[in-house]
């Protein structure tokens, strides 16, 4: 059975107040996101902190209702689903395995809790827990330990086992490897990729690290101040990043190649503020190639083949906006 996820014009607004008596202002964390995630694929969502990617992840999980718009899974509205039914369908893996596992519970109980919540107990529960722990590459002896006795990588494996124990079809991973060392990050990424292949899972993979996203995702959406400014198949996005923001993000990734120096991505030092979204193109204050029209005209979503880009300057071929991003001269002499 397919488990397509369809997001239809999702918006989420928070009210923020400056002090007890201050004026309230509206913060648009997610501002009109529409996307279809086909069953069995992985959509990566990347962007800087504050771009709304985690808010969107919580909306897809059903943990946070959207202010407007709908999330449909299998043609059914997510919000109309029973909580238990939703838990059988969608499960999360969070960033920090140090705070997402109950420190007072043993691994066996942490992984078994979703089953208990569904009314599955006894032998059936114990068998499923053991099977799942083995599936994520943990020795059975770990079942009786507490999270504090585990390493970061082992904890994240426990979190993955807990997410998969109900055999969900969709897993939302919010920065699942950001808190881990590189050698462990690679182990966890390999595990996630293998589980997806074997179990036919659909992933939503939120990360700030473009290199990680490339490894695991079929499609990538680049998010800026609540909107998808570019969305394309992973290979296309990395081969020919089109939106100036995508290009800047890609240029900021420091690859282990000595002698290339640190790039000047030309974004200036004013961080984006979701409580004060600029008019026109929302990226124009930081855009190295902005033109006067960008200040006033809001760009539509333009389609170039399978790629969509929200930039006035994106050209027909979709092959990229003119103007290379400067890379600093070699620093290491």
């Amino acid at each position: 059975m397919s488990a397509d996820i369809v997001l239809h014009d999702i918006t989420r607004v928070f009210e923020i107040r400056a002090g007890a008596f201050g004026d309230s202002r509206l913060l648009r964390a997610v501002d009109g996101v529409s996307v279809t995630i086909p069953a069995g694929t992985c959509l990566g969502i990347v962007g800087e902190s504050g771009c709304g990617k985690s808010t969107l992840a919580r909306i897809i999980l059903g943990l946070l209702p959207p202010s407007s718009g709908d999330v449909m899974v299998d043609g059914k509205r997510l919000l109309d689903m029973d909580r238990r039914a939703r838990a059988r369908l969608i499960q999360p893996v969070f960033q920090d395995p140090y705070s997402s596992l109950n420190p007072r519970r043993r691994v066996r109980d942490i992984v078994g809790l979703p089953l208990t919540a569904q009314g599955i107990g006894g032998r059936g529960r114990a068998d499923r827990v053991d099977e799942m722990l083995a599936r994520v590459g943990l020795p059975g002896t770990i079942a009786d330990r507490f999270p504090a006795q585990l390493s970061g990588g082992q904890r994240q494996r426990v979190a993955i086992a807990r997410a998969l124990v109900l055999r969900p079809r969709i897993v939302v991973c919010d920065e699942p490897t950001s808190a881990l060392d590189v050698s462990v990050q690679a182990q966890i990424l390999n595990l996630l990729a293998e589980l997806q292949r074997d179990l036919g899972l659909t992933y939503v993979f939120v990360s700030h690290n473009l290199a990680v996203v490339e490894h695991i995702c079929d499609e990538v959406a680049v998010m800026y101040l609540g909107r998808f400014v570019e969305h394309a198949a992973t290979d296309d996005l990395f081969r020919a990043p089109t939106h100036p923001y995508t290009r800047a993000l890609l240029a900021s990734v420091l690859t282990p190649e000595p002698g290339l120096g640190v790039p000047d991505v030309g974004l200036g030092d004013v961080p984006p503020n979701p409580a004060n979204i600029p008019p026109g193109c929302r990226f124009h204050p930081r855009c190295p190639i902005a033109e006067p029209a960008c200040r006033t005209t809001t760009p539509d979503s333009r389609r170039f083949g399978s790629r969509t880009v929200e930039c006035l300057l994106a050209d027909e071929a979709g092959a990229g906006v003119a103007g290379p991003i400067a890379v600093a001269a070699t620093w290491t002499e």
Partner: protein, 330 residues
């Protein structure tokens, strides 16, 4: 590279033990010269931060530090009086930490925290100190420094806070800057800006930088010299071009294979990874600490580990001769 210049910081056989349980640093030797960036790279728990704190004399009292040599700018830091060391710290040697929110005091304005450094070390007046603070905030790329001086840390973004930390470290024109994961908590775009800033300041002021990081991408782009740490030891040390062109210790190899590089990643193929986890650093650990995760380990690795040389300036601690890596690359 720059061998003619006498080292500013010289560390030989640095050891740190916490209580009787943990040998966190087990014989680290390194040097940093004026105008040079020396990167200390390794995974969590390998002892890189503890080494930095030990050099600065900032360890807790429960830690026992020993070293054969610990010299900074000609001064011996072993057995130096606390007051003399406190005078050096923040003045001639400064440190930046990973998390700017927890290293800035939330109850004081940016201006008063910056000014305190100069008032304390140089007996400057508050007005002089604030003037210098404004000058430095502008230098680290903060627009409208006058406004920022009156703000509290929570009113600044992460990137701005880290710039404030850098400005604070530079207040007294230090000769040595120890930066412990200065960009790890930041977005990649901000990370690039902060690193460019540090390199620009280094070029301008001739700063010596000891940069601690787990990110090999950062290392490749900023380091002159690299020391790879594992389980409290430096297992390989070389100039950055030599290390990335010819990684020789199996751990360095493994670490490099784990880093996903955009444009070179194949989906469907597993990333390189290092099996297992870092060992416990109980006292009396003998032989190669990496042997349980190493594909090349033999029984002899449980005994002494020899130091071999890939080049005159490229030592590594492994039983393998330097041609194994070349043979593998071929």
């Amino acid at each position: 590279m720059r061998d003619d210049v006498a080292p500013l910081l010289e560390v030989e056989n640095l050891r740190v033990r916490f209580g009787t349980q943990v040998d966190a640093v087990r014989g680290v030797s390194l040097t940093v010269r004026k105008g040079e960036t020396h990167c200390l790279v390794g995974e969590s728990g390998c002892g890189k931060s503890v080494s930095a704190l030990a050099i600065m004399g900032l360890l807790t009292r429960s830690a026992a530090r020993t070293a054969d040599t610990l010299r900074f700018g000609g001064e011996n830091l072993i057995g130096i009086k606390d007051r003399a060391l406190a005078k050096l710290r923040g003045d001639r040697m400064a440190m930046i930490f990973q998390e700017p929110m927890t290293s800035l005091n939330p109850a004081f304005t940016v201006g008063s925290q910056l000014a305190e450094v100069l008032q304390r070390h140089r007996k400057a007046t508050r007005a002089q100190s604030l003037e210098r603070a404004a000058e430095l905030l502008a230098k680290v790329g903060i627009s409208n420094p006058g406004l920022r001086l009156g703000q509290f840390p929570h009113q600044l973004s992460g990137g701005l806070r880290q710039r404030v930390m850098i400005a604070m470290a530079l207040m007294c024109d230090p000769e040595l800057l120890i930066a412990d994961e200065p960009t790890t908590a930041l977005d990649v775009t901000v990370q690039a800006q902060i690193l460019r800033l540090l390199l620009g300041l280094q070029r301008e002021l001739g700063l010596a930088i000891l940069l601690i990081t787990h990110d090999l991408g950062v290392v490749a782009r900023v380091a002159h010299r690299v020391s790879v740490m594992y389980a409290g030891e430096v297992v390989e040390s070389a100039t950055a071009p030599a290390l990335f062109a010819g990684p020789t210790h199996p751990y360095t190899h493994g670490l490099l294979a784990c880093v996903p590089v955009p444009g070179q990643v194949r989906r469907g193929e597993p990333l390189g990874s290092i099996p297992g986890t870092v060992p416990r650093l109980a006292p009396g650990l003998r032989g190669c600490a990496f042997r349980e995760r190493c594909a090349h380990a033999v029984a002899a690795c449980a005994d002494a580990v020899p130091t071999h040389y890939r080049g005159p300036d490229h030592p590594y601690r492994c039983r393998l001769s330097s041609d194994w890596a070349e043979a593998r690359a071929a």
